[in-house]
């Protein structure tokens, strides 16, 4: 399908346009976080637990840090962790999925059993246990999250590869004497892109949720660094008196995850179209 039609479908749905704009806003705001006059981690006991005001538009937390600024910095961490985990998951998932699907036979069986094992482990619990032995930094977090989300990508990719490799254009390439690596690279992978893009957008959403959950439990991003999950955690004890402390990161998580999911659904429609209005 040509670009014009894709654009038309995209803009014809108000919901997606709203989501795209919201996502862009969240991403932009997080990137521009350093423009804020406040240091996100600097403690200022004199101004602790203030409500909304001209000085602190979303108030301050129990250590007097500006909530708005922290939410922006938290967004940086959440989005970074989410997208990094997604990238690792997509690369690994696509590689394993195509090789497994295209090779078939024993390789396929081994790969898929590994996927099954990963899918049957309770991921959050497992990550918490592993955390006891690993340095607690963002890198570890990304790798841990990715190690549980590549399986979903791999499954989708493998299923699609299985159907693609039976298609006549792949048979034609084989009949022309094109090598196996080149067939995967030139024919299989480009035709997987729609599925991979959709899986990627859903996997970002999941990674952000998991990161928040881990940070909330105290295992993710380490204090004093802000993340939406850790902000929620520190807001717990003030939730009755100062609900805004929980509402701000909670809303951010909700909006971001919702937008990624809606975008994922929409991309699916655009990339797999039945050309009707």
């Amino acid at each position: 399908m040509d670009r014009r039609a894709m654009k038309k479908i995209f803009f014809s749905n108000k919901m997606t346009v709203i989501c795209a704009v919201l996502l862009l806003l969240v991403i932009l705001a997080s990137l521009l976080a350093p423009l804020s006059p406040y240091d996100p981690d600097a403690v200022n006991v004199a101004e602790r637990l203030q409500g909304m005001s001209g000085r602190h538009i979303l108030g301050t937390d129990d250590l007097g840090r500006d909530t708005f600024t922290r939410a922006l910095y938290g967004g940086r961490v959440s989005l970074l962790v989410g997208s990094a985990a997604m990238c690792v998951a997509v690369l690994a998932g696509t590689f394993i999925g195509t090789v497994s699907g295209y090779s078939g036979g024993r390789i396929d069986m081994v790969c898929m059993r590994i996927v099954d094992i990963f899918l049957s482990v309770p991921s959050l619990l497992f990550i918490i246990v592993v955390y006891a032995f690993m340095p607690r930094n963002i890198m570890t977090l990304v790798l841990m999250l990715a190690s549980f989300s590549w399986t979903k990508v791999a499954r989708v990719v493998r299923a699609q590869t299985l159907s693609l490799k039976e298609r006549d254009f792949v048979t034609a390439a084989k009949a022309l004497g094109v090598s196996r690596g080149r067939i995967i690279w030139r024919h299989i992978i480009p035709n997987l892109m729609p599925q991979v893009i959709v899986a990627a957008s859903l996997s970002i959403a999941n990674a952000i949720l998991d990161e928040s959950a881990l940070s909330f439990l105290g295992y993710g991003v380490q204090l004093p660094m802000a993340s939406w999950g850790s902000m929620l955690q520190s807001a717990q004890q003030y939730i009755l008196h100062n609900p805004i402390l929980a509402v701000v990161p909670g809303t951010m998580i909700l909006i971001t995850v919702l937008c990624f999911n809606v975008m994922g659904d929409m991309l699916q429609q655009i990339l797999d179209p039945k050309l009707v209005k």
């Binding site: 039609a5 050309l275 009707v276 209005k277």
Partner: protein
């Protein structure tokens, strides 16, 4: 001869993201009662869309234009309410599609799919409906009908499934049966059996059939009347004799010569160069002009009107128009 169906100025458009497809463009024709009429044309010529319009099955994004009129026995069916459509479909007019596998419900046995329809429209009890179902299956030549009523669609072969579809279409004894490429997905031997069966039922019951197809071969011994469509337009109408032995439109003529014949050997096939026009942006003139060997300057100016070159034989071609400068040598 009385006409069971009259289509007047029918236009159907499909609004898609890539533009508006003008699937059927202002066509008119009549269908004679108790005869078999074939609508012949290539993919995208609008033949299936026409049949769907007659069944009231055009759905969004398809739109039937306001000027369009379809009369079934003098009644304007395009003004029907949903309730009236339900009574019309099945009882007055029925359709059989090309793909019998998707048209049948895989989770229901054949018996229920047949009797369901009987019981919705007629006041009969389960027992009577079941017996009627068996009779229908026998009529379309399914051996062991009583036993097969209990089977599911996947237990039937392609040919048998198409027979079941025809049985279902005929259960309420419609006056008009539309067969939309009923044998295209089937092997030739199976196709021949099914066509024979349809012919026999038509003869016995004097039903009117509209046969939609791209295959001139299956039309030859089946249809009395033929309507040739091209790019959303009717280009020629006439009896089977007229179309096969005195084709007037250059498209009809070329189409007949492009098919190799089993009973005649050798020779180069005559081709029709080029491809049909894009229906999102059809040409203002005759849509066949670009591929036509008899093209004249006038062909690009507008769609030619209908010329009657013999009784019951009409053609839309500038060659036969008085102001086209052509001395129509139809006969």
């Amino acid at each position: 001869m009385s006409q069971i169906l009259q289509v007047e100025n029918l236009s159907v458009q499909f609004h898609t993201y890539t533009g508006t497809i003008q699937a059927v463009r202002d066509i008119s024709f009549g269908i004679r009662e108790n005869k078999v009429t074939a609508i012949v044309g290539e993919s995208g010529c609008g033949k299936s869309v026409t049949s769907k319009a007659v069944m009231g099955l055009i759905q969004k994004p398809g739109v039937i234009s306001k000027e369009s009129k379809i009369f079934f026995k003098g009644e304007d069916i395009l003004g029907y309410t949903e309730k009236q459509w339900e009574d019309y479909r099945g009882q007055k007019c029925s359709i059989v599609f090309q793909d019998a596998l998707t048209a049948l419900n895989p989770t229901m046995d054949i018996g229920r799919q047949i009797t369901e329809k009987i019981r919705v429209h007629r006041r009969v009890n389960r027992q009577e409906a079941w017996q009627e179902g068996i009779r229908m299956l026998e009529q379309v030549g399914i051996p062991g009908a009583a036993m097969r009523m209990r089977q599911y669609p996947h237990e039937f072969s392609g040919g048998m499934r198409q027979r079941v579809m025809i049985a279902i279409a005929l259960t309420l004894h419609p006056q008009l049966l539309i067969a939309d490429e009923p044998t295209t997905a089937l092997d030739v031997t199976i196709q021949a059996d099914i066509l024979d069966m349809m012919k026999e039922i038509q003869r016995e019951q004097g039903m009117t059939i509209i046969l939609i197809t791209h295959d001139l071969g299956i039309v030859a011994n089946f249809a009395q009347d033929i309507i040739v469509m091209y790019a959303g337009k009717v280009v020629e109408k006439g009896s089977a004799e007229d179309i096969f032995y005195h084709p007037a439109h250059p498209y009809t003529e070329a189409l007949l010569r492009a098919v190799p014949r089993l009973d005649i050997s050798g020779g180069q096939l005559e081709t029709i160069e080029g491809a049909p026009p894009n229906m999102a942006d059809p040409p203002a003139g005759c849509p066949f002009a670009d591929r036509c060997k008899k093209k004249r300057p006038v062909c690009g100016t507008g769609f030619p009107g209908e010329a009657e070159i013999a009784e019951g034989h009409q053609v839309c071609c500038w060659l036969y128009m008085d102001d086209g400068g052509g001395s129509g040598d139809g006969r």
